[in-house]
């Protein structure tokens, strides 16, 4: 840790206002999502707790029927938007992070194998990547969703929706990571420290994991960050297409989908607040990832 604090990386970080700002925003949002239960005045996921009469209450204005006041107003179901956003943020972040994790694991594994072992295995994996590229996350999601809908009982559907999101986004984002890892593995494996490891008789798996892996991870970090933003956006898009988080357990995307119906009718807050939250999240993640890329890629410094 101490070493980290002394590192150039940290030094640069402190001197990049955008990086610091975006980092702060992201971590704040994550914190809010984690503490949602304690911060949120209501639990938006519990339909029984909703009072429909509270619907369409403007921010900080007493509701016409119940007289209740809401920080960010309520949506069409009388859901307190502030709470809904906190919980939705949690869903979106969870989906995003899990998807990225999945993508990274697959990508690093395949990339490492392809790069290190090479030969026909390499070609195979790379063709696989091509095929993968053929089906962007949206398509995959709709397919998996279609299948799952067929096989799973409706009770499981809510959980399923989230799993489908994670699977589909994760499965469609591994390619870029795999390609990068493969690339840097190809470079690293020619380096002499690998030869040194081989001539003391280490087996390949050990060389791959103990020696090469640590050296190919920094670009992965960058891509993973960008992918996180991507995943969060993808989740929103899928919700729009109706294969996302269910309206009874809304994610940010679902909230935005609902909100856009009220864009013309003057209930601006239903769209604005979730959209701003999403923007803040994705934008900061992107900005941070951007800074990471420039920092970890000295050629561009």
């Amino acid at each position: 840790m101490n070493r980290f604090l002394k590192s150039d990386f940290f030094y640069d970080f402190l001197r990049a206002p955008i990086a610091v700002a975006s980092f702060v925003v992201v971590s704040t949002l994550i914190l809010l999502a984690l503490l949602a239960n304690f911060i949120a005045p209501t639990n938006p996921f519990d339909p029984a707790s909703l009072n429909l009469m509270n619907g369409f209450t403007a921010p900080m204005e007493p509701n016409a029927f119940t007289g209740e006041i809401f920080l960010m107003g309520t949506d069409d179901q009388g859901r307190d938007l502030f709470s809904a956003i906190l919980f939705g943020l949690r869903v979106s972040l969870f989906v995003g992070l899990m998807a990225v994790l999945l993508a990274t694991v697959i990508g690093v594994f395949l990339g490492l194998i392809a790069g290190y072992i090479g030969g026909w295995l390499d070609s195979l994996i790379m063709r696989l990547a091509d095929i993968q590229m053929t089906f962007p996350s949206i398509l995959i999601a709709m397919l998996i969703y279609g299948v799952a809908r067929g096989v799973l009982p409706p009770e499981l559907r809510d959980e399923m929706a989230i799993t489908v999101l994670i699977l589909s986004i994760g499965l469609s984002e591994w390619v870029s990571i795999a390609r990068t890892v493969r690339g840097s593995t190809l470079v690293e494996k020619e380096k002499e420290y690998v030869a040194a490891a081989r001539l003391i008789g280490l087996n390949h798996s050990r060389i791959m994991i103990r020696h090469i892996l640590p050296n190919v991870l920094s670009p992965v970090l960058v891509i993973a960050t960008i992918t996180l933003a991507l995943a969060i956006i993808a989740e929103a898009t899928l919700s729009f297409l109706g294969v996302g988080a269910p309206p009874t357990k809304p994610s940010l995307g679902t909230l935005i989908r609902v909100g856009q119906d009220f864009l013309f009718s003057g209930e601006w807050w239903i769209l604005l607040f979730p959209a701003l939250t999403l923007l803040a999240l994705a934008l900061s993640v992107n900005l941070f990832g951007d800074w990471l890329r420039d920092t970890l890629n000295p050629r561009l410094k």
Partner: protein
């Protein structure tokens, strides 16, 4: 496709005809499912069919029955089981063929064939006979005083054309069948099909030989019909003046449309009731107390005020006010009473509630998904844990119809304006001829008998008595939880003079410009 490419190479450039001022650009959420007039019994499908096909008699924009292809009709004095229809002279189909009685005979038989969704409407018919070229007799099993009500969406096709194109029977949409008639038409209607591509655009042009040309305004020379799924986009299209009329203005956008100059909103109570259906055969909902609890746990005012923005008319019976048999008393809906509901639940032995899935369409009725969502909340308050499963109508209806659902949403329009229509579809035991939309498992032979008897009861007083009796049982059985009657809101440009048709079916020959 290869062939296409070749033809493309040697293609002549032809330009789609430019639009005139009399062109009506008409948009609504969903497209017609098929152009075959007998294959579906569904609003948007009939709405489009009405522009190209005529029934024997139809409802005007106010909902009153007026002559169409038949100029007059009455039950024979000597035999009340036979209705005689005098057909309009000199009517021609779009392809120039003459309209004669055998077309009527053919069409009605076709409407009764397998794969037809209209057959229930004609279930009382025994025989159809052509008396002469322009007279047709309909014989029913026993007298059917209200037969004519069933014919307002019973479109007449050209026999010759149908034979030529081998569309003697309707295609069964549920089985994914299609035929020539799904994409082609040959009617007697005010408009002729120019081009159609599903979900994209359907273009109609006025029919110069339309029999009604000097009876009705018929000012519209061309109709461009575009389904626009996304509500926001649909409203935007109207607000930005890209379409002249949209049938389903989202309730939240009504004010916006009203306030936009050049636009207006026309409103009318719709002949359609929205309700939930319950499985009475098995599961918790088979317990009457549970169904009653659910019924009073629905806060209908709240739904009206918030979800519908006041644009609905809460009801306690699954019957719109237009319908014969409707009474204030039936229409009065029970008080929203959580305590009572919880009590009933515990009496039924479900004080800790139960879980159930609510099947719901998300592109059919006004705010259908939102209503279901609020229902989820309301049921939650009496301990029922509801999983909402909202789907496009095409996926929802098979489920709702097939009886897989324990708890589902349905809307019902009554084109015949008579209770019998409701009973025949929603109350009668599910058989191949009747009760096709009654998956609730409710089955009462006495009621079934009464329903059948309605078709032949000539004494209207006695008939209304029976109707009231049946409604009594239905209300007690509580297999349906009524919510409200829909209110139609058409948004259109100011210069259009057009009433909102209670069946939500615009007949553009009635439209005129100011």
């Amino acid at each position: 496709m290869i062939k296409k490419l070749l033809t493309m190479a040697s293609a002549v450039v032809m330009i789609t005809t430019p639009t005139f001022s009399e062109t009506i650009r008409w948009a609504r959420a969903g497209d017609s499912i098929t152009l075959d007039p007998h294959a579906q019994n569904e609003g948007p499908t009939h709405a489009l069919a009405h522009q190209m096909y005529d029934p024997l008699l139809q409802r005007d924009m106010a909902g009153a029955i007026i002559p169409a292809l038949a100029t007059s009709w009455k039950a024979l004095d000597n035999n009340p089981n036979v209705w005689r229809f005098k057909l309009r002279q000199g009517v021609k189909f779009h392809d120039g063929a003459d309209f004669t009685s055998e077309d009527v005979v053919f069409s009605l038989n076709r409407a009764m064939a397998d794969g037809s969704e209209m057959k229930e409407l004609l279930s009382s018919i025994k025989d159809i006979r052509a008396v002469d070229t322009h007279t047709v007799d309909l014989e029913t099993h026993g007298a059917n005083p209200l037969l004519v009500n069933n014919l307002t969406n019973m479109f007449i096709m050209d026999k010759g054309w149908s034979e030529a194109n081998n569309v003697l029977t309707p295609h069964d949409v549920a089985k994914g069948e299609t035929n020539f008639a799904t994409m082609n038409t040959n009617g007697t209607g005010a408009f002729i099909l120019v081009s159609r591509s599903v979900d994209e655009k359907t273009v109609l042009k006025s029919n110069p030989n339309y029999w009604g040309n000097n009876l009705y305004p018929t000012e519209v020379s061309k109709i461009i019909y575009t389904p626009i799924q996304s509500a926001a986009t649909r409203v935007a299209a109207l607000l930005s003046g890209q379409v002249d009329i949209i049938q389903d203005v989202p309730v939240q956008d009504l004010d916006r449309v009203r306030e936009t100059n050049g636009l207006k909103v026309a409103t009318a109570a719709q002949n359609r009731v929205i309700f939930f259906g319950l499985d009475t055969a098995e599961g918790p909902t088979s317990n009457l107390k549970v169904r009653q609890a659910m019924n009073i746990a629905i806060n209908r005012e709240a739904i009206k005020k918030v979800v519908m923005r006041g644009q609905s008319d809460p009801t306690g019976v699954i019957m719109p006010p237009f319908v014969n048999g409707w009474t204030e008393k039936l229409n009065a809906y029970p008080k929203y009473d959580l305590e009572e509901a919880k009590k009933l639940m515990s009496e039924a032995g479900y004080e800790d509630g139960f879980s159930i899935t609510l099947n719901c369409p998300n592109d059919r009725y006004i705010n259908d998904e939102a209503i279901c969502q609020s229902a989820v909340g309301m049921m939650g308050q009496i301990g029922i844990d509801v999983t909402l499963d909202a789907k496009p109508k095409a996926q929802h209806f098979p489920i709702a119809k097939g009886g897989e659902a324990d708890f589902y949403m349905l809307g019902w329009g009554v084109p015949t304006f008579d209770s019998h229509y409701i009973f025949n579809y929603l109350v009668h035991t599910q058989t191949d001829k009747r009760g096709s939309w009654n998956p609730t498992g409710f089955s009462n032979s006495a009621v079934d008998a009464m329903i059948v008897s309605l078709e032949s009861e000539t004494d209207l007083g006695a008939r209304d008595g029976t109707i009231a009796k049946i409604w009594g049982t239905v209300q007690d059985a509580q297999m349906y939880l009524p919510i409200h009657n829909q209110v139609l809101n058409w948004g259109m440009s100011k210069n259009i003079k057009f009433d909102v048709q209670p069946e939500d079916k615009p007949h553009f020959q009635f439209l005129s410009f100011e």
